[in-house]
Structure formats: structure tokens, C-alpha cells
């Protein structure tokens, strides 16, 4: 295998790892943001939820930015096609992220607007949590593509519309992802809130409910995948065996997390509920490889819709082999990552150590 090919695979894996980092870390704070009005009724309870995500959400979200930046740097055509193709959906994610970020920081300082900040905190957490799964679902089954010319540049572009992004498989993926985030959020709140606080009681109940919801939706999504999506792939997805391994990881991880929940171990429950979202990204990456964005013969046009994806269109698919940056560029980025990633992990150790343990009742006032 030549060096360039190794780097192409490495960066495919690295982006998957960055997304796993995002699903693990931002997953729980997005989930906690959505659960905010449901687990916290009184002001002091709301303060607990905000304090549980306040110090850490920002660093968590950077995993998404880094994943996006890495996709741009390593596979520019995939970044360009997906971000511009899914334009309105990406913009909804963006607006959600912006408002949520500011709501977390402003809610405690700005009592006059607290109703507004509470609302945008929830909506802003919900949009990215829902739509990231939808985007992944669309990429897994492949998207319609057409070539478009501007000046001297001709490129393949997404040829469907906004509404066909909301096809059944994508919606199922969206809900599966959402359930994972909600479970993580509930598990984080169980871990962080004071033992006897109502927030913990409510979160504990929700942790279990969403965990079951996650398994149900995973089963439904898998069934839909095997019956209606997989046949359209033909033999174009060589990574499917690995995807099955990750599916097994999902199931085992789910069982493990149920055991810890039954065992009333909040720390291990939280750690183990992260296995399923990691497995979901693993399934996604494996089922795509070596594609970045597979092309499929789905209906084209702004106001189209489909239930079952069309056949694979391998000639137009964006693959890691044909759509990566140059060997030198990938080498430079690998060196940057070797310097940066250990530091990033160190920062995370520092911040999670600093804020370890349950929030104490007497600290609740501080934020």
C-alpha cells in the first residue's frame, strides 16, 4: 500500500474518531439541554442542569468544529458537497449551535430574558441533536447527484431538495441519534446532580426510558435498513462486515449499560451509555467505506421525495481514494494532529478533573 492510500484511510478513521468524540462529549450536553425543561421545574433545579453542562459544553462542541475542519482539510469535495447540498439543514444546525452557546452563558446572568434563554437553550440543543442523525442517514443510503458548472469549474452536486432529506430512513436515523443523546444527557444529569435532588430522580427515570427507546429505534432502523436500503447498495460497500461487528458492539454496550443502571452505579451507567453512540458512528463509517458520500439514483429536483433509495451510482460517488487532499497536505495534518491531539486530551483531563463529582447543593448559587 502506498503512503497516500494509508493516509487516506487514516484520515477517514480520524474523522470517524472525531465524530465519536463529538457524540460522546457533546451528546450528553445536547441531551441535557433538551431535557432541561423536563427534569428541572424550580429555578434551583434549572441551575443544577446549567451548572452540569456550563463548564464543559464549549470544549465538547469543538469536537464538531474539528471534525468539520478535518473533513474540509482531508476531503475538501465531501465537505463542500455536503455542507452546500444540505444547506438549509446545516443552517438550522448552525443557528441551534449559536443560540444554545449563548443561552448557556447568558441565562444565568440575564434574569430579565430568562424565559427567552431557556427556550432557545432547549430548541438550540434539539436541532443539532436531531439533524446530525438525519444527515448521517442520508449519507449512508447515498444521495442524488448532478454535475454543475460555474465558470471553468464543473463539479458533482447534491441534486435532491430539502424535503427528500427527510426521507423515512433519515428520520429513523435522526430519532435513533436523538435517543442516544437523550440517554446520555439523562445519565450525565444523574451523575452530576445532588443525590437526593428531584433532578436526579427524574433523570434516572428518563435514562431508563430513553435507553429502551434507543434500542427500539435501533431495531426499527436496522429492519428498515436490511429490507429497503441495503439491497440498493449491491456489492459496493466493502466495509459491511465491520458494520455488523459494530452493531454487535451496540447490542452488547446497551446490555452493559442496562446492567449498570440496574446496579444503580451512576458513573458506570454514564460511561457505558456512550458505547451505543460510538457504535452508531462505527456502523456509519464502516458501511460507507471507502465512500465519503455515495451517490444513489434517488429522485432529483427541489420538491421530490422518496421512501426507498435508488440503486448505487458508483461512478459518481465521492471516495477517499479520488477525493482526498494530496499526500503532502495529509502528512502535514497528521503531524499537526500528533502534536495537537495529546494536548486536547490533556485539556479534557484537566477540565473534567476540576469539575469532577456531584454538584453540591451549596454551589448551586454560583452560576
Amino acid at each position: 500500500m502506498e503512503v497516500h492510500a494509508i493516509l487516506q484511510v487514516l484520515w477517514f478513521l480520524l474523522i470517524a474518531v472525531l465524530l465519536m468524540g463529538y457524540f460522546i462529549l457533546d451528546g450528553f450536553d445536547l441531551g441535557a439541554g433538551i431535557l432541561y425543561p423536563f427534569v428541572a421545574k424550580k429555578e434551583s433545579e434549572k441551575a443544577i442542569v446549567r451548572q452540569a453542562v456550563g463548564p464543559v459544553w464549549d470544549g465538547n462542541e469543538v469536537w464538531l468544529l474539528t471534525g468539520g475542519g478535518a473533513l474540509f482539510a482531508a476531503f475538501p469535495p465531501a465537505y463542500a458537497m455536503s455542507f452546500s447540498g444540505f444547506y438549509l439543514a446545516i443552517m438550522l444546525v448552525l443557528f441551534g449551535l449559536i443560540f444554545r452557546a449563548i443561552a448557556v452563558e447568558y441565562r444565568g446572568r440575564d434574569p430579565k430574558w430568562k424565559g427567552f434563554w431557556d427556550a432557545v437553550f432547549v430548541v438550540g440543543s434539539f436541532l443539532p441533536a436531531l439533524l446530525s442523525g438525519a444527515a448521517i442517514g442520508n449519507v449512508i443510503q447515498g444521495i442524488a447527484m448532478d454535475s454543475v458548472t460555474v465558470g471553468q469549474f464543473t463539479h458533482m452536486e447534491y441534486a435532491g431538495g430539502f424535503f427528500s432529506l427527510l426521507n423515512p430512513f433519515a428520520l429513523l436515523c435522526a430519532l435513533t441519534g436523538l435517543m442516544a443523546f437523550l440517554t446520555q444527557g439523562a445519565a450525565w444529569l444523574c451523575l452530576k446532580s445532588p443525590v437526593d435532588n428531584l433532578v436526579r430522580q427524574r433523570a434516572k427515570q428518563l435514562r431508563s426510558t430513553f435507553s429502551i427507546g434507543q434500542l427500539v429505534l435501533f431495531a426499527l432502523t436496522s429492519a428498515y435498513f436490511f429490507l429497503l436500503v441495503l439491497p440498493s447498495f449491491g456489492d459496493t460497500r466493502i466495509g459491511m462486515p465491520v458494520a455488523y461487528v459494530f452493531a454487535a458492539v451496540f447490542v452488547v454496550g446497551w446490555i452493559v449499560s442496562r446492567l449498570f443502571m440496574a446496579n444503580k452505579n451512576d458513573l458506570m451507567s454514564f460511561l457505558s451509555v456512550n458505547i451505543t453512540p460510538v457504535a452508531l458512528i462505527g456502523i456509519t463509517a464502516a458501511s460507507l467505506f471507502p465512500n465519503l458520500i455515495p451517490a444513489a439514483n434517488n429522485p432529483k429536483g427541489v420538491f421530490t421525495y422518496f421512501i426507498v433509495p435508488g440503486a448505487a451510482d458508483t461512478a459518481n460517488s465521492l471516495t477517499i481514494w479520488a477525493h482526498s487532499s494530496s499526500e503532502l497536505s495529509l502528512t502535514a495534518m497528521t503531524i499537526i494532529t500528533c502534536i495537537g491531539l495529546p494536548l486536547v486530551l490533556l485539556y479534557h483531563v484537566i477540565i473534567y478533573r476540576t469539575f469532577r463529582g456531584r454538584i453540591k447543593e451549596e454551589e448551586i448559587g454560583e452560576y
Binding site: 463542500a80 449559536i98 452557546a101 471553468q152 448559587g365
Partner: protein, 505 residues
Amino acid sequence: MEFLTDVAVLSRIQFAITVIFHFLFVPLSIGLGLFVALAETRYYRTRDPKDRAATKFWVKIFTTTFIIGVATGITMEFSFGTNWANYSRFVGDIFGAPLAAEALLAFFLESVFLGIVIFARNKISPKLYLVSAWLTWFGSALSALWILIANSWMQTPAGYALAPDKSKAVITDFWAAALNPSTLARYLHAVDSLLILGSFCVMAIGAWYLVKKRNTDHGKQFIKMGLTVGIVTVILMLPFAHMQATVVAEQQPAKLAAMEGQWKDGPADMAIVGWVDEANKTTTALSIPGMTSFLASWNTETVYPGLDTMANKVSLSDFKAYDGVKVTEDYQGGIPPVNVTFQAYHLMVALYALLILWLVLAGLALRNANKGKTSKALLYLTIFGPLVPFLAIQSGWVVAEVGRQPWVVYNLMLTNEAYSPIVSNVELIITIVLFLLFYTILFIAWLRLVFKQIKAGPQLEDDAGLAAALATAGSSAADAASSDAGSVAKDASATDDTPVAKGGE
């Protein structure tokens, strides 16, 4: 209303709106971040409750501002893909690396330590807290480095080769691309301008306290701090701006000519004020002959090419990237909009002169304050002082970005071919309206909050009370004391926000 159907124009409008808004908060964050670190250092040394009040005050103002910069920065990173897809494909091999490096090396640093600065003052040792304050600032300055590397590469591309099919630029030398001819000058010029802004904001807040005759010790201290950093950074701006201008003269002759509205070849003058008539290709200006030549080359006689001779002299197909392809009508003869560049440049220079004047005024205000006099006129001028560097920064960027048109990557890619062709004008109009709406809300929220925090001011009692409450907790004799502390905390929260207030249940 033809532009409403033109995706290229709409994409540029959206980028301009979002980047200008983002760049209202970035300069403030990086500028104020230095003062947070300085105030924290001072408190670390003195452990004086007054200095504690000051540094806690700056942390509040800083974080309230910083978070808007962070949030609106996500827009910028996304926008390359969402709205500039063809650009991203063309430059991704080179441009993506600094963006990824920015996220990995700088965003994580500033975001994680920001969490510590906001939440962990009572959780970690003073030394670690001080280090965290500096790391947050260092992270933001490092992030500026990476993004300016990316911007500089667009202005003065280096270390690349064109792919054989001309569909993209490919990196050939990482260091040549990162340290391209304009990186260093641009970084120094830009970051210095942010620190100038920070120092003017610190002075403004100090002046407000002196006008209101409250927190006067802090007021004087803030003006002194701002003045010290302001004088140093304004003086440093001379060599940094000179470096930047020299790079423009060497690398982007059309931009230099547009900055001075120079149409004929010859020594370049330096205008004080003037107007460019682009239709008739004339510039009417009051100017110092040969001054620009002198500044760029230390010789008033050095000849620089004029716009007349540059326009259309080089046809598009003479550029490697466009050799053998059909000529686009968007080429504009290769010269930028001249009057906008000219006016923005001279506004920036005039504002620089005002900066010096404003430093003198603030210095006089401080001297009077130290003598016990309140000179209201001077203080009010100081309060509005931040507008001067703000406008200078924005107009400087207009020169940099408008002045390199019609190119998005200088001499390599035309701006009008760089947008996302798949995004429709309707989608763009929707998002432009939403950006205007949302950013207005955010701006109002920020203004309200920052003014509220400034009004509340550095608070001594707040912490003394809290410390007393903690120290006496558990002692039965302390009931009265802690209930006092409680009421102090409540008062504080009425004006600021210690969350007990929001409790209210």
C-alpha cells in the same frame, strides 16, 4: 433588485454580514482577554480585595463578549462549505489544514480554559487559575494566527502548484504556504489593532466610572492600564502598518494603486482626503507627492504602476489558472473597486491619527483625575473612544478584502466562481434575513448585559461577604453575620447576577 437573483452577489452579502458581525466581537475578546490576564496577574501578586473585584469584573465582561465571538465563529467555519463550495474544493488542499489546526490547537485550548475561568475560581489554586486566564488569551491569539495564515494565503498564495486539470491548488511546501509573504505583517498589524481596541475599551469603562463619580479608584486604575497598553500598541502600529503596506506594494500592486487612486504609472503620492471618479478614471485629492513611494521603498522617486496601465493589460488567460479556459466577464479588467478601497484606506489612516489624539485626551483626563478634578468633556470623549479603533479595524479589512477583488485567491481564482452553485437565491435570502434577525437579537442581548455589568461595576462587598459567610459557616454565633452576607449577596444579584437572584423561589 437584480442582485436578489444573483447567487454570487447574495453569497458575498451574507459573508460580509456574518464576518463583520463576528469581527465586532473577536477584536473585543482578544483585546480584553489580555486585560483579564493582566488584571488576574496583578491580583495574584497583591491578593488585594480591590484587585480581586477588578479581575472578577473583567472576567465577566470578557466572557460575555467572548462567547458571542465563539458562537458566530462557527458560522464562519461552516460558511466555506455552505456558501463557498467551489472555493473550498479549489483551495481545500491548502486552506483546510490551517482551519483544522486552528480547531485542534487553538479552539480546544481557549474553550476548555474558558470553562475554568468562568466556573473554577474557587475550585483550583490561584496559580492554576492565573495560568488558565493566560492560556485562554493565548488560545485566542493562536486562533487568530491560524485564521490569518489562511487569509494571507488567499492574498499572497505561496507554496502551491496548480493541479494538471487546473481544478484545484495543491500544496507543495507547507512552510512556504503558512509563512507566505503577507502572514507575518498581517498578523502583527491585525493583532496589534485588536489590542489597541481592548485598551480603548478599558479606558472607556474607567472614564465612565470617573464621570459617574463611583468606583473612582478602579476608574483611574483602568484608564492607567488602558493608557499604558494603548501607548505601546499605538506606537508599535507604525512599524507593523509599514510592514503591511510594504507587502501590499510588492505583492498586490493593483490594491496599492487603488488605495491611493493612482491611475498613471509614476511615483505614488499619499492622499490626505480625496475622491475617485471611476467612470472618468481620475482622482481628485489633497496629497503629499511621492510619500507612498517613500514609505514603501524609502525613495520618493520609485515608480509604481497605475490602474490605467494595469486594467485589461493582462488578460485573464495570461494567468496560469485561466490559461486555455473561456474568459469570464467577471474579470473587471483585474482591478478592484477603486473608490471604496481609496476611502476605506484613508479613513483608516485618519482614524489612526485620531487614536493618537485620543490617547493624549485620555492622558489629560487621568492627570486631572489624579489631581481630584473631573474633566467631563475629556472623560466623555474617552468613553466614546473605542469607536475610533473599531472603525479603523473594519475599514482596514475593507481595504484588504475589497482591494484584492476580483480575486478570491489572488491571481488564482475569481470571487465570482467561488460560491456554492447548488444553493439557490431563495435559500440565501431566507438565511440572510435570519442572520440579520438573529444577530440583531444577539447584539441587543450583548449590549444590555455588558452595560448592566458595567453599571454593576467591580464589587468589593460581594466577595468579602461571601468569604465571611464561608469562614463563619457552622459557628452558631455567626447567624447574624451570615444573614448579612446573604443580604449582601442578594443586593449584588439585583444589579448583577449571582444566581441566587434568579432563584427567587
